[in-house]
Amino acid sequence: MREITYAEALREALREEMRRDERVIVLGEEVGVFGGVYKVTQGLLEEFGPKRVIDTPISEIAIIGVAAGAAMAGLKPVAEIMYMDFLTIAMDQIVTQISKMRFMSGGQLKVPLVIRTQYSLGRVHGAQHSQFFPAWFLQSPGIKVVLPSTPYDAKGLLKSSIRDENPVLFIEAGVLYRYKGFVPEEEYLIPLGKADIKKKGDDLTIIAFSRCVLEAMEAAKILEDKGISTEVIDPRCLVPLDLETIINSVKKTGKVVIVADDVKNGSITSEIAMLIIENVFDYLDGPIVRVTAPPLPTPFSPILEKQYMPNKEKIIKAVLENFKF
């Protein structure tokens, strides 16, 4: 079984899709000569040339705007925004333009593009380089949101994102780039909107996103030893959301913990929790417990950042809390 890193898996996805489809181009800051600040696009310039792997100025508005225009006119751009924080510069293009293009043109426009970005929480980057706010895009119908947690998922989901005819925001977890996992040699795709049950279990459902899936898996192992059998679900996509898989699990376990790296208030955990309550309330036999970041900007200090983040201890505590009921 072949093991490669999350970054390599992403690179393979890009390379395969670029080979497969001439319309796919890559653009962003440092994606070409430098191979990406986290080396995800390394080697692409050499293979595909500067026409298809395009270094841009520090112009986030234009990176996204150009990608949108190119998508309208027949290409399939993959635009990289170096840190998720910098999406805040391009929100007009992402939310007020791209997400609404198809709808407000009465279905005329098609804007098949992927915005790749990564959040750096956990890498001691401080308040302006650690933001994670996927919930914003729930409020902006018209763009899909993907949150891969493993090399396998990263590759399969990125390939599907590139083939999708809709705009896709593909949010990577910076801390995972060097993390290795099984990725087959053969080509495969993972459909957008299909959750993955990362671990089967009967007593409680842990729903975790992105980096937190790993923490959840470790917590699950420890809990198993304590005799608590948890099921770990990784929705993988926030939009579209595979509510069915979540619901089926909750029907089985009756207990839920939701884990994500965003700040608690208005987080994706609020939304997932409400969806569960609105759909399968009667099956719940304990409170839904949420494990998230607290309502603070991210502190730089390494010690404080660790305390700030969701981790396996906090997840275990949440699970045990649920079992008090």
Binding site: I25, K51, T56, P57, S59, E60, I61, A62, I64, G65, V66, A67, A68, G69, A70, A71, M72, A73, G74, L75, P77, D92, Q93, T96, Q97, M101, R102, F103, M104, S105, G106, G107, Q108, L109, K110, P112, P141, G142, E165, N166
Partner: protein, 331 residues
Amino acid sequence: MSIQIYEGASLNSLKEDSVEILKKMLLIRIFEEKVEELFLVKGMLIGPSHLYLGQEAIAVGFCSNLKKEDILVTTYRCHGHAIAKGVSIKKLMAELFGKKTGTCKGLGGSMHAAIDVENGVLYATAIVGSGIPIAAGIALANKYQNKKLVTVCFFGDGAVNTGAFHEGLNIAALWRLPVIFVCENNFYAMSTHISKSMSSKSIAERASSYNIDVFIVDGNDVISVYNLANELIEKVRNGIGPFFVEARTYRMKGHGVYDPGLYRDKEEVKRWLERDPIKIYKDRLIKENILTEKDFEEIKLKITQEVEESIEFAVKSDYLDFNDLYNLVWV
């Protein structure tokens, strides 16, 4: 790069098109006057709407040189560009009424009504400046695919102060993209005169600092606009670009239909109204014996009729069913 004040008042080059051009300008004029009436007198339309009255020469001068497949990116002030590019006024009018027979099935409204992929109007945005990087992206795709297509991006003087303008122009110039940026400088952004919003001496000067060839043209003189557009479009079709045009013009009315425009000096308004682009051009055609006053009246009558029919069409059309909306968010 150079800044050139373009004057190309020769009628020769547009001979075949010359009456067509007048008709297009008139169609825009009469369409917009009717729209204004539908808002202000008849109360049949609501919401924001920004008329193209007084700027007709620019849209027509450019679009008369474009092919159907060539591409426009425009703004909320988009009716004139749409009509000049060949969008059906029935669909346009229906869009203003929010009907499902509209260009955008009634989901866009006046500010996006121009969007008509079939006729190459790929985008009309209501966010000032936002179309500029998008137009650059379209040009990039055309260049990449070796399509000999021309992209023309229209925007106003107010857009020049947005971050999107700066980032988009820089990239278009840096990558030498086949696109023409046309800034319709009507000297006002809402009530704000350009002297109150832009530090540079002129739009042309600012644009040329991006290392782009810039042309200043009288936007009320359709002959000059046409001739300039013809030259630039030819170049861009052959892969040379980008270009920037500052077309100086004036709104005949307020910013939007509800704005009486009282902030403008009366003398200034009067001076500009005397330079009505349709009147100037019509007089020229008559002087050159290409048209008679009678021809003109006939054309006007016919167009008025056509516009009335578009209203009838729009009024008779249905609204989309709400449930259909769910099918229009995603491909």
